[in-house]
Amino acid sequence: MIAAYLVLLIPLVGIVFFAFAGHRTDTGKLNVRFNSVSLLATIWLAINVLNQGTIISSGKAFLIDPFNVYLIVLTAFVGLTTSIFSSPYMAHEKEIGKLNDTRLKLYYSMYQGFMLAMYLVLTANNMGIMWVAMEGATLATVLLVSLYRTPESIEAAWKYFILCGVGIAQALFGTILLYYAAVQIGDGDNALLWSVLYENAEQLNPEVLEIAFVFLLIGYGTKIGLVPLHSWLPDAHSEGPTPMSAVLSGLLLNDALYAVVRNKMLVDGATHSNMAGYLMMGFGMLSFLVAAVLLHRQKDIKRLFSYSSIEHMGIMTFAFGIGGPLATFAALLHMTVHSLTKSAIFVTVGHAAQVAGTQSMDKIRGLIKTQPKIGWGLLIGTISIAGFPPFGVFTSEFLVLLATMHSYPWLTPLLLLGIGIAFAGLFRHIQPMVYGDKPEGQLPVKANLWPVMIHLALVLWMGLAIPGFLANWFSQATILISGSSPL
């Protein structure tokens, strides 16, 4: 249990440290150290869970089970690699005069703030605290979206703030309804604890829970970026600093989906119908198709990949909606591989934009000729995210496809069509950027591409053979969510 407290304590110390220490030349490296220690703590926590099974803290405030522990490790891992990337990236932004010391201080402090909010969402047993942490994640990142203080970035941040704020308020209403159903059967103080609710799910009033789930899905769905609540997402991703785009896409969206699935488990227990599943399937499919089409009409490279994030979150929501063991396993795997691939892509995109001096795709050309590492990184990342074998995204999408064919065969053509459209949308933009002629005077930048290589190697590994302990985790989580084993 100490490990869980450590996981929360380290970023908390980080916030205070970066806020008060003042800017130093090595702040970026210190941020990397904070995140490495966090990663070690999460691995310790994961080993504990592996040995002891589900852990509930003594005050019942925290719950660590196979479902959230792997997300916690993933969060720490992506947090670490992104911080490795962000250190030289932010130094470069300061050199070209886009940022000053005060804003860098804010950036590093809020980076840790965001990590804290993510860990709290994942570890919280109390559904109310989970909501508070989710809102906290918005509050921590909103000033980072407007870090450059351009009119566009301020507009994006305002949109993000208002839309996510109003959206997540719906989730609070859902949580209140959940609590309302819970106090009718149990004592007040423990009634919002997920572990207690899950044990008594059978007795919860199904009518109230159905209404509650609609609000919860809309609320957390705004943060997942489900169409039609997605319009904040491309703006926030494209106008903020790139490391922020990487963690927003790689972590925040996953954690919002995690919150929805936790709630779905309660609602399914109470209603004995697949109402929640159908809602998620509908929203997921809509997001997937709309985002795939919108990929074609983008001009900004970061907007392009944020639509790709919406598309993949759509697939995951759809898969969790289907619900069976196979689909759930696929969705869990997809959460992991998407998170790793997408953050790797944003890292390369960040460097590509620095090479070209712009985010406009019409002007980014000849990356392979200027700086082969970045060009290849972007190309391989895109191949991976588009779902080509042998990468992990292919495996998970294939499993989703299998599950769909098994349960809802008439939806298979739609899924295939969407994957095809998205693939075309990505490649028509990426191909000229990578292979085109190099503009005159384009020079390489100082880039650290280790995070990208490690991420893509992991995704490749998961595509070729999922390591045993990971498969074991996924299947334990699948048993927890869907009730039976996929293997």
Binding site: A61, N126, G128, I129, W131, V132, E135, G136, L139, V142, L143, S146, R149, T150, P151, E152, I154, E155, A156, A157, W158, K159, F161, I162, G165, V166, A169, Q170, L172, F173, I176, Y179, Y180, V183, Q184, G188, D189, A191, L192, N205, E207, V208, E210, I211, S231, P234, D235, S238, E239, L294, R297, Q298, K299
Partner: protein, 225 residues
């Protein structure tokens, strides 16, 4: 349901629910920002009364803390901050011309009916009083959204945002006698941070577009034109 047969507490809660709903409608049709902020403070005060009353009649001590938090945040701090912004920007003389005011008010009324419709299944498991309280809370939430849609000033958007929060808080107090203390403190903390961030944002928006009319924030599009 015969009102006269209910106990005093329930009667008071029903009246307060009606008043909270009324303040939402008042805000919806308000074109002057200072009055809008004043009505918002009034709604916060009604909320404080509700919480205090619930704390007293249920003898629940932690609700007193919630009442004090509401008083400080929603009646004093946030209205004070918004009022200062309005005076600072010299907007207190402007009357915002609301498009389709009649339609917006009719829309508001339909949203209220809709809230009753959505929450009607709850009657099966609890009282009509509960339905009223929850439906009014939901309609305050929805009316807050409508307020944000129909107004263009950033100040009005913040009032709408915070009034959504009020609606949720009312639901928590009336339907469940308040959430667990730790959750309520967390929510209050989030509201406080949000209010401070809004203050920072007013400054940024002003320096960026020299106005607080959020309709002018229109540079980013879904697809490129």
């Amino acid at each position: 349901m015969n009102i006269a047969e209910l106990d005093f507490y329930t009667q008071a809660i029903l009246s307060l629910a009606a008043l909270v709903g009324l303040t939402s409608f008042l805000m919806l049709g308000q074109g002057r920002l200072l009055r809008l902020v004043f009505v918002f403070a009034l709604q916060g005060f009604l909320l404080t009364l509700t919480t205090g009353l619930a704390a007293y009649s249920l003898n629940n001590h932690h609700l007193y803390i919630s009442a004090v938090l509401t008083l400080v945040l929603k009646v004093i701090f946030i209205p004070w901050m918004l009022r200062r912004q309005v005076l600072h920007m010299n907007m207190h003389r402007d009357v915002e011309a609301l498009n389709n005011n009649t339609m917006v008010m009719l829309g508001g009324a339909s949203l209220m009916v809709f809230s009753y419709y959505v929450l009607h299944p709850i009657v099966q498991s609890s009282s009509v009083v509960m339905l009223n309280a929850l439906a009014v809370s939901l309609s305050v939430v929805l009316l807050g959204m409508l307020l944000m849609i129909s107004h263009r000033q950033a100040v009005a958007h913040v009032v709408g945002f915070m009034s959504i929060e009020n609606g949720l808080f009312f639901a928590a107090i009336v339907a469940t006698n308040g959430m667990p203390m730790v959750v309520e403190l967390g929510v209050a903390f989030d509201v406080l941070v949000a209010a401070v961030l809004f203050g920072i944002f007013f400054f940024h928006i002003r320096t960026s577009i020299d106005s607080l009319d959020v309709d002018l924030l229109n540079k980013l599009h879904e697809v490129d034109k």
